[in-house]
């Protein structure tokens, strides 16, 4: 049975995560990267809930809740950064912002 197999959910989560990785690697637009980051976060959440379903206790879901809240915070700060980038560089392509280079 597929529905009773944890590995199915984990697989879907892993694929989604890797799609996110692909997106981050290939996107140049900062918002695009942010979107793919969301994809990865979502994959992680799915992963967590799946594990929670297949084990006892409430902590799995509570933890996911925290993770979602964190993701939201991350998006907020990320978007602020994107807007800052737009303001300082007139461009939100990430390879333009290279001040961090050593």
């Amino acid at each position: 049975m597929i529905a009773g197999d944890l590995r199915v959910f984990l697989t879907v989560s892993a694929v989604m995560f890797c799609i996110g990785v692909y997106g981050i690697l290939s996107r140049r637009n900062a918002i695009g990267v942010l979107l793919c980051l969301e994809l990865m976060a979502n994959a992680v959440n799915l992963n967590l809930v799946a594990f929670a379903r297949f084990s006892t206790g409430t902590m799995g879901q509570v933890f996911t809740l925290f993770a979602i809240a964190l993701t939201v915070a991350e998006v907020v700060v990320g978007m602020a950064l994107v807007i800052l980038l737009q303001r300082t560089h007139r461009d939100i392509r990430l390879d333009v912002a290279e001040e961090m280079r050593g």
Binding site: V8, A14, R27, L35, L39, V62, V72, L84
Partner: protein, 166 residues
């Protein structure tokens, strides 16, 4: 049986939409595909007996995050043409990296005997009441810390995105 098929369809939808998010040339479309991904993930969460989390997912992500993203796109592309470009660079290399990663993950998932159905089977369901009790009793500190973090993120976002010092 129908349930299984429905689940399969749902999971396929999640993956397909994810692919669209990653490869769609128009940024606005990407955002919308993400919305669909998140919604369908919420459905999977329901399937995984986490209705409360599904609700949170819909309200926060699909409601809040997507709106925020769209705002972001609008704010950064004020010369609103039809298509917001979302160019792609070196897709082949990125694909190789992603596939390698996937291979490792899949190998880890499918070759670990502890994850097989024999060892892992669905346990009892968790009610929203239980979540609430855990949040406000055992994990109160973490809960409060998280609220402080959210506040900090908010303040940080405001500080970062405001105009130069008056």
């Amino acid at each position: 049986m129908i349930g299984t098929l429905f689940l399969l369809a749902l999971l396929s939808l999640v993956l397909l939409c994810s692919v669209q998010v990653a490869r769609c040339p128009d940024l606005v479309h990407s955002v919308l595909w993400l919305a669909v991904t998140l919604l369908s993930t919420a459905c999977v969460l329901v399937w995984l007996a986490a209705p409360f989390l599904a609700g949170i997912q819909i309200v926060l992500y699909t409601g809040g995050v997507i709106t925020l993203m769209l705002f972001g796109v609008m704010l950064t592309h004020r010369d609103a043409t039809a298509v917001v470009p979302n160019p792609i660079q070196r897709p082949a290399v990125a694909l190789v990296a992603a596939v390698t990663l996937l291979a490792i993950l899949l190998a880890a998932i499918w070759r670990t005997p502890e994850l097989a159905p024999a060892a892992m089977s669905p346990q009892h369901e968790v009610t929203t009441l239980q979540i609430g009790q855990v949040l406000l009793a055992e994990q109160l500190l973490a809960f409060e810390v998280l609220s402080v973090l959210l506040l900090a993120a908010m303040v940080g976002a405001i500080v970062l995105s405001r105009r130069k010092d008056p």
